[in-house]
Symmetry: C4
Subunit: 216 residues, 4 copies
């Protein structure tokens, strides 16, 4: 892939973002959360651009050539590469929140199963777990953390509209699941976003385990 | 093992296939999908030959000497080594589909358990999972992916006949399970085949988890 | 982080403790027991001081600069760094038992789920497992190992009081769970403490599995 | 540890056995089958001696100094080290079967849970799994593989007597479980024994999974 950068973006800035995405992707792939070339990752480069994974690559073996520049309408910038089909879900976050710096979408078995199980409720409510405090803004296990589960669709504008509707209703949102699919979460930088993702995977896994055991 | 190649097959071609098989095998062994020297792997070399794992080796430690050449009737070519007992299931794929380039057979706990659970149905039907799209030809989670489960037998021609019967009935086939045993899947090249295998393992695992949880 | 040591503590002693904590933390992080910067670890330095993890760091990547000195009232010594919020639970152990040399607090999925499941009982009773013998003082699987489960609170003195009450009642205590949270365990040195933690994680996992299976 | 060898045993022979035990132990420890310094491993050195793990060491970090020589009555030879408490269960195998060359005893969660679940039956019967063929002498999935589950005791002669009683009744034996404890298996050499262990862990795991799912 050949990537030509706009004059306002130094190569070192783009490369730092690409390297951060690739390193995070390797860690998440090693955990088994990106099966069969699924999942996509992005990082804000400046007010108007983000770096995002090129569609269809193995997430455990990303190099700089697997990361491309897009504008916040999701168009490729300075490259013929095709960004992930779900790019619009990344740019939506960057457009709505200027302080958000990274978006991670993964596809673990726990995430996929939880999304199916709670799809008819449309939401998963987490309460009583100390690790809720790993989500920025949550100060106690006594809070309730709501994760919406949106219906899956191959038509991205419908998903974008569902996320907008949730936010326009004034409800807090730190992550969402798509039914049968996976999770989206974000944060101010890659470290915070990765912490959110680890916490959410852990909390969903605990909820599923507890549900199996309480039925026993 | 000593391997003499026909004049039409350059050593570099055979070695590239052998190395690809060995590398894939190491990855699958590390995932625990090849317990106790089980599983076998092959790759098409040309229109009339394939490279396949020698019987009974530890799949995490394969070298070139653990891969042998066969013709598409399953006979050893240029070697005294014994190919896998299930060679006929590999050559069947290469004979029916000239564009198929690799076959992977593994033996994960998820695959074995799913095969037992769905053996009486004779088929597993997967619906509503985004990752179905990782199987070539599937464009939406709204499709149905059918994986037949054939009865196990130590008599390979019976298994070959079951696969032929399914295909002769005009049904699509991207993979099949054998009861109490494991999975077979294939693709145009090793990367596509490995993507299929990862997706199928993931989907079977999700189905089993969901079944446990829905009973709760 | 800048750490100034009291004259009575040689740098080599503090560094040996810090390195032991960091190495143990890497092993526990690799097991997935410290998700999302959770968990904290400490080691006694002398009669009046301990080394403890600085709050909020990724436990798989600790260096010496992520470990700080505290006195046994939990105050930072010779540094501006902030110790873990749960420091009081570590110093309580060192104050009550002069021969205890290390405290580990982790946050595995098994520990968190077990704590929720047994919270209403207030205790988990382990019987009939050979691995109970890995806890110092237990010589046979015929003994009963009791692990209390205390209610969670963000107010540390309440937790300290609960632990004190258990001990003041004369009951043996080698570890405790906090509801929705994780486990605390300790020992004479880091090796014994790590052995206790591994054994407890194993035993809790076995209990949960057996409960799922016996309900089947 | 200082090990003095009898004149009939070359250092290179003992060292080869010790290295083989240590390497196998590292692999099994990495799988989590040897929690909290549990498990023990041995290898026949000659007609009258075996090499066995010294009691209480961390099985992921064994060196030659953690392996000692014993005679087939279980007495230390040429060393003051203390062999594993369960040495009598190893020497029993070597005494009864001159062609057996290695014994592995591990302690995985699956093994421990299965032993508790089937303790009242006294036996686990495995049928219909292709991987039964990984046990030497089993040629088809249609066979039945019986694994006895003996009551646990801290008195080794009682366990030895239970194993003898099973064998004296003329029943085949390739492995046994001890209730709440773990598994023992053996083979002609280390590779065969490790293959048996991997197959048994896999089969027990499949049985437990299937039991959970069939109850759903």
């Amino acid at each position: 892939m050949s990537q030509t950068l706009p004059g306002t973006i130094p190569a070192s800035l783009f490369e730092a973002c690409a390297d951060s995405i690739a390193e995070t992707a390797r860690e998440l792939a090693a955990l088994g959360w990106t099966p069969a070339t699924s999942s996509n990752f992005s990082m804000r480069v400046d007010a108007d651009h983000a770096a995002i994974t090129v569609s269809g690559r193995h997430k455990g073996r990303l190099g700089r050539e697997d990361i491309m520049l897009i504008d916040l309408d999701g168009h490729a910038v300075g490259t013929d590469a095709r960004p992930s089909a779900e790019t619009a879900l990344h740019t939506q976050i960057y457009r709505r929140w200027p302080h958000m710096g990274a978006v991670l979408h993964t596809h673990s078995r726990t995430q996929s199963v939880a999304s199916r199980l709670f799809a008819s409720d449309g939401v998963i409510r987490l309460q009583g777990w100390e690790l809720q405090k790993a989500i920025t803004g949550y100060l106690t296990h006594e809070s309730t953390l709501e994760i919406p589960v949106f219906p899956n669709t191959q038509h991205m504008p419908d998903l974008v509209a569902q996320v907008d509707a949730w936010l326009d209703a004034g409800k807090p949102l730190h992550a969402y699941l798509i039914d049968g699919h996976g999770i989206y979460t974000w944060g101010r930088d890659m470290a915070e976003t990765q912490r959110h993702l680890e916490a959410l995977e852990f909390l969903l896994g605990c909820e599923l385990d507890l549900r199996k055991l309480r039925a026993s």
